[in-house]
Structures are given as structure tokens and as C-alpha cells.
Symmetry: C3
Subunit: 169 residues, 3 copies
């Protein structure tokens, strides 16, 4: 069996998997859908646009990853926190829309990193979320516009906060 054929078959298989199927293949565990810690909704749908609230790096046990990147936390810690924040956004999407398969594509992320003023690698941190979305929704639908910036303080000391706009079916 030629190697090219195998690759091609795998590729076909990947691009025809739905977001929910990809999530299962990746064996990713979503945290519980985050509850609002204020007077807001986790997600608002208007037409075919879904606006998420700012999400933090919520762990399955309900705690948040905290810390300042460039001080007690490294860039790699930040990357993991951004990926975990992406999982929390997925949990909200599934809880609010019924299934991740209603997501057509990512429009935009605003990725905010709680960091030391001397830290300057925010894109490398927010990639933790962006690469997750590319894996789950595919590169065509899962990569959108983005801003990645540094913040002097985030709620409860969370390491990363990300808000997103998706197009949904």
C-alpha cells in the first residue's frame, strides 16, 4: 500500500470529521461550562454571530490557572493557560449551542495575557488557544483574526482571558 495513499486517506478522514468527532479523537477533556462571575451571559447569539464573554483558564476541578507571565509563570505556562481557556470556550459553545458542530468558523479572538511589563511574546502565549481551535475546527474554519496583548491585571488573578466571535449555523 503506497505511503501517499495512506496519507491521503488520513487527510480525507480528518477533513470530513466534525468538530465534535475531532474533539473525541483528540481525547480532550472539557472543563465544566463556566458560570458567570458577574452580571453577564457566557454567550450571546445575534443572527449568525456568537459573541462569547471573556473566558479564563478554567480547570476540570473548577479552579482557574493564575499567575503573571514573565514573572512567576513562563511563556510555556501561558501557552497551557491559553489552551485551557480555549477548552473553556468550547465548553460554553457546546453548553449554549447544543453541539460544537453548529460552529461554522472562528471570526476573531481578543487574547489578553496577564504579564510583566517586560514580557513581549503574547502571540506565542495565545497560540495555545488558536492551535486548539485549528485542531478542533480544522485550519480553514478554526483560524480567525486575532489580537494578542498584555494586561496589568485580570479577574481573580487569572493568567489569560480570551473573548471570541464565531460564525454559527
Amino acid at each position: 500500500m503506497p505511503h501517499e495513499w495512506l496519507v491521503s486517506t488520513c487527510f480525507e478522514r480528518i477533513i470530513t470529521l466534525s468538530a465534535e468527532q475531532r474533539l473525541a479523537e483528540l481525547r480532550l477533556e472539557l472543563p465544566p461550562a463556566p458560570k458567570a462571575i458577574g452580571v453577564y451571559r457566557p454567550l450571546v447569539v445575534c443572527g449568525n454571530l456568537a459573541f462569547t464573554s471573556g473566558h479564563g483558564p478554567l480547570l476540570p476541578d473548577g479552579t482557574l490557572i493564575t499567575g503573571v507571565v514573565g514573572r512567576e509563570a513562563t511563556k510555556e505556562d501561558g501557552y497551557r493557560a491559553a489552551r485551557q481557556t480555549g477548552l473553556a470556550i468550547l465548553a460554553t459553545l457546546r453548553a449554549q449551542l447544543g453541539s460544537l458542530d453548529r460552529v461554522r468558523r472562528l471570526i476573531k479572538l481578543l487574547g489578553m495575557v496577564q504579564c510583566d511589563p517586560n514580557f513581549d511574546q503574547h502571540p506565542a502565549v495565545i497560540n495555545g488557544c488558536s492551535e486548539l481551535f485549528a485542531q478542533v475546527f480544522g485550519e480553514e474554519a478554526g483560524i480567525g483574526a486575532r489580537s494578542a496583548v498584555g494586561m496589568n491585571a485580570l479577574p481573580i488573578g487569572m493568567m489569560v482571558e480570551i473573548e471570541a466571535i464565531f460564525e454559527i449555523a
Copy 2:
């Protein structure tokens, strides 16, 4: 007259009041609609979406509430500043749309708190704006998605800056 009946009647009355009527009932004074302090418009409407510029805690005398939350200002000061910022947003909506009754619902807020790096209760501050909108537009229409974050500096030293997206009729 049964107590339940009274409650029900009050409830009916509340939910059938318009935003302008609720504002009058709450005896809230709006500041003058803020003027741009740069090259921008206070509000831009595109289809059924209305995007506001960042607003600050403008007082009826035209001055802004300034200060750093977690340093010379408390969380409660921040809450009052966020509520005042909400009143300024309402003033812009009324001036630009003719009436608050053209607002169908809040889609999203980005709430920014000028704060000390050690302050971590931004949601409790931005609730000042969110609770105002819930009062004026009702809980169904007045509570949207939201991010609440900390900033190292805001224009003219204002304590809070909030931008909003509304759905309008």
C-alpha cells in the same frame, strides 16, 4: 387581595415598561451625551448592530471620575464609576438613536478598569454598569456577554472605560 397577585401585577408592570419609562421610574439623571475627545463618533450603526465608542464615567457637570482602583479608589468607587459610565452610554444611545426604546438588547460589553496590578475584582466593578443596564432594559434584554479586565492607564486618568455593542430596532 392575595400577596401573590400583587407580586404578579408588579412584575407584569415592570416587564411592560419601556426602557425610557424604566429610566424615569428609577429617577436616573443622565449626564450630557459625551462629546468625542478625538477623531471618532460616539456611536456607529451598521444594520441592526450599534457599536459605541469607549465611554468614561462622565458626571452631569461634564467632569470624569478619575483614579486607580486598588490604590486611591476602592472597589465600591469603581462600581459607582462603572454605573456612571453606563449612564453616559445611555446618554449617547438616546442622543444618537432618538430614544432608548430603539434598543432591542445588549450584545456585549468590554469593561476596562484602571487599576493597581494587585487588584483582581474587575467583575465586581463592571457590575455597576451591567446592573444598570439590567434595570433599564430588563434582565432578558439588558444582560449580554462581557469581558472585565484591568488596564494600567486610561485617557485623562478615568477610572473605568466601557465599550458596548447593542442590537437595535
Copy 3:
């Protein structure tokens, strides 16, 4: 020939020029369209809305203007950085849409200034971008809603980061 007539004729000429023609008249040099420094797209179009990623003050030689406004950089430095960031956004719009003439109008800017905590003139800095857009698209189409805020840190130490939403044809 009366002076008023000349003014009127000039005015007519200005308002009938397209964005691409205005850019040529202003003899503005666009930097190369910026490449993503992370997992994102420079621009995403959804219906008639175009969402740009956060852009920095990219120079024609491919480097970015860096520095902290209110410390080693002045307000005027910040203004020039914001104008350069606007040129980078124009480069992305032309590269992604084929022509600036597909832009109907600016909806909103989020202008972020890397600054000292004591700096408080962010609107004067972000005007560098806003005045450029007013020149290129005209005052009616080129001035939108806006937030201008201070950040403790931006990627690669860039002085300004701006994201924009445009309405396109």
C-alpha cells in the same frame, strides 16, 4: 475667478476621489502587508463586515516601531506610530480585498497604546490612525466608533496595536 469657486471645485474633487486615488494623491507609502506572527489571519470577512487582527506600526523595511509612550517615547512618537499602524491596516485591506475601494466605511477601532501608567493622552496618540483613515476614506466614511486605552505590554514591544472593523462592499 472667485476664491469661493476654487474652494468649491477642490472640495468636489476631493469628495469624488476614491480611497485608492486619495492614497495616491497623499503620496503615502504602504508597508508590505504584515504577515501573521502567530496562528491567525490578518483579516476575516463575514457578510459585509471585515474584522482585522491587531496591527502594529510596521515600517516599509519590515521592522516595527517599539517603545513605551510617556517614558522613552513622546505623545508625538505615539501619534506617528499610530499613523504607521493605520498604513499597515490599509496594506492588509488592499492585499486581502484587492482594493481599498471595496471599503464602505470604518465601523470601529480599538486603539491600544503601550505606555507608562502615568500617561493619559491615548486619544491624541490614536488620532494618528484616525486622521489617516479620515484622509483616505473621507470624513464621512473614515471616522468610526473608537476606544483608546493604555496597555502595560504589547507584542515585540510595539508602541501601538490597533484592531478595526470595516463595512465593505
